[in-house]
Symmetry: C2
Subunit: 178 residues, 2 copies
């Protein structure tokens, strides 16, 4: 495979590779988006409320309702460190107990990275949020029991959030301690 | 907002916009990936087996196990038409009954498009698969009851497939007719 030179778009880099089929030997062009790993967090308070964020998203040019999350920075030693940092920065919340729920690949066809989902229990406010430049976030508390109906009603639409709720559902079905 | 000129990478186009915060008035650069809408299909045979595809994916440079899916082409009148075409092209299967399960946004932060998930029941082989150039697919039948354990074991990792299984689980929990 002949790997292309990446074009840097800040939040990700794009490269064009010349790939050869292992089966037929035929060559074709493929496009790959290079990004750091991502994390997201299902944070639940002791009143069984999920800590969500409402924000304007430039991809869809619309306001979304999501769980907190972001990219694993070079200074984060692990995805868990990044998840704790993102929860704190985006919402001002910290949590008593952390657990990894699962990991997905956002899009293995065109992206090289993974997204790690964590469950943060005993979430509580610990100060002001400190979002990145350009981020404007509003924290919204929603009873956990309402999350599925928000997805069904199209209020929560981000695929990585829906995948996180898949993990949350499996965790509970398997006897997670809530 | 000052919209950038898109750079065409075939499967998607990338543009850099200059966006202004509605709240603070401060301008900053944002990157947007333009792609057509996508579809994917949970296809179940009358023996309650899911029709999956195994293929090499260039993003992660690994072989994945996924449900069939792809982009809505300009010639597809609706996402449903695209879903039927993709199932037929990628697996050679057709189905008796189609139903929309749900829709997600693959990544509203950086992408403008949606992904539509369909449930196809009564799936059966109807001829040879006819994949796109560069696609090499192997059809794999898996009992529906094993899908969750394949996700948990990390054998199925594509976020849009996990989101589709979220919809499938909700459909069944709400009394879907299987």
């Amino acid at each position: 495979m002949k790997r292309g030179t990446p074009v840097d778009f800040k939040v990700f880099r794009v490269r064009r590779d010349r790939a050869r089929s292992p089966k037929t030997g035929k060559a074709h062009d493929v496009t790959v988006l290079e990004a750091p790993d991502w994390v997201n967090v299902v944070a639940l308070t002791d009143h069984d409320e999920a800590v969500l964020v409402r924000q304007f998203r430039h991809g869809t040019e619309a306001t979304t309702l999501e769980i907190p999350g972001g990219a694993v920075d070079a200074s984060d030693r692990t995805p868990l460190v990044a998840a704790k940092r993102e929860l704190r920065e985006e919402t001002g919340y910290v949590a008593r107990q952390w657990r990894r729920l699962g990991v997905v690949e956002p899009n293995p066809a065109i992206q090289s990275n993974s997204c790690w989902t964590f469950l943060a229990e005993g979430a509580r406010p610990a100060g002001e949020a400190d979002p990145d430049e350009g981020e404007e976030l509003e924290v919204v508390l929603v009873p956990r029991s309402r999350l599925d109906s928000l997805v069904r009603a199209g209020k929560i639409r981000h695929s990585l959030v829906v995948a996180a709720f898949y993990w949350l559902g499996r965790h509970r079905a398997e006897g997670g301690n809530r």
